[in-house]
Symmetry: C2
Subunit: 251 residues, 2 copies
């Protein structure tokens, strides 16, 4: 994941994403582009927002990968979502406080913090954009549901494959997949916390995936020789990611 946040103007990332939901007028695009934000940088492993925090801004990922996680009373950590460039990590904090989870950087990341007041005044100017934000929140929720099905009904092997498929499609859409490869920043301990497994079992499942020639993974570089095969192994269906324009789906 390349560090410089220059090559993709931050707000354009968001415009491009929201256009998946439907066409935006020129003034709506401008409204989004003119959202004020301050850019922050975090190193891998750093906590971006803490559980229980009450914040008055939402964070947008400009580059790198972040993840949401919950800490249980006895110290266990469950990762509940990942974010790639263009994703809000906590759009819901606009309406729901305090935050019921924390956010951390899985790789070196640049984050744009957008004040809630700015989001509110954007909606005051362009009420129609509320539907776009709702759509973004709904996407997020759809992903949670898919993860629930993964945790509840898939084997360790399938779950890890599923996570790799999801990241593949989302990163590909954001332009971060090259030659069927992408940088998969998670450690085995993080994969374990995302899939509800132990690190030992993740390690063994990864070896099975390698043995079956579904993945090649070293130094966080993940190569997927046959994405179709991985999809089948994971029981993956990319529909829930809604990567096509909604218009296109309906027509």
């Amino acid at each position: 994941m390349n560090p410089p946040p220059r090559h993709i103007p931050s707000a354009d990332l968001l415009v491009r994403k929201l256009q998946r939901f439907g066409p935006l007028s020129e003034s709506e695009r401008n409204q989004i582009r003119s959202l004020p934000s301050r850019v922050q940088e975090f190193g891998r492993g750093q906590v971006i927002i803490d559980q229980g925090e009450v914040t008055d801004e939402s964070s947008l990922v400009l580059s790198g990968i972040t993840f949401r996680y919950k800490l249980l009373p006895e110290g266990a950590r469950q990762i509940v979502a990942t974010q790639v460039p263009g994703d809000f990590v906590d759009l819901h904090s606009f309406v729901l406080k305090p935050l019921d989870h924390a956010i951390a950087a899985a790789s070196h990341v640049y984050i744009a913090k957008v004040p809630h007041a700015a989001i509110q005044s954007m909606l005051d100017q362009q009420p129609r954009l509320a539907r776009y934000l709702m759509w973004d929140m709904a996407l997020d929720a759809a992903s949670s549901r898919e993860w629930l099905a993964a945790l509840g009904k898939r084997t360790a092997y399938q779950q890890i494959a599923h996570l790799f498929c999801e990241l593949y499609f989302r990163l590909d859409w954001a332009g971060y997949v090259k030659n069927a490869s992408y940088e998969m920043p998670f450690t085995q301990a993080e994969l374990a916390d995302a899939c509800g497994l132990s690190t030992v079992h993740v390690n063994r499942s990864l070896q099975s995936l390698r043995r079956d020639r579904l993945i090649m993974l070293e130094n966080h570089a993940l190569f997927i020789p046959d994405i179709g095969a991985l999809i089948r192994a994971a029981l993956f269906d990319p529909t829930y990611l809604h990567l096509q324009r909604e218009d296109a789906v309906v027509s």
Copy 2:
């Protein structure tokens, strides 16, 4: 769960719930109350909406309990959320189609179907209400995250206890808990599909919960002699349900 949808005027349920987020003006309340809807009745086990359906209305539970579930390719079913009176089962279908899950009735239910066009025109009239709907969607998402932590990090015993705690608080708020008891409509097979377990293991875990005197359950009547004890056993924290007024939480 009492059948008659009379005693609680349908829209008032929604007004009361949305007021948890913040105060509503008289005109906003009226706007919500005047939402058109057609009431439908479903028997227990009936499918209310099918996976993959494209619908132009969202369904609000008037009485009874419903649940969302996903069907995996090989036929497995994962229940991903439950709804009690006052909850939308698919508010997100307002912006996200097709539906990535199905909805079924866990008990005999009355449902109000509200056209998306009516929701849209309500938002056109009262743009401020968009934040209320976002809040409702955010609540739903918070619940999904909590379930993810349950599936990933809790034992079977804790998970079932957690589900019972969640239903306890939500039903209590809606006025359906009497004498520390409520009607828990799920069969053991449904509990299994909600917790990612086998029916046999659910059965044994229920017996453990009974043996530990945390619950009494027969004929779908669940009595919780000591909710504090159940909460501790479940590692339950009701914060994510946001049952207090948001104002109150902040102050």
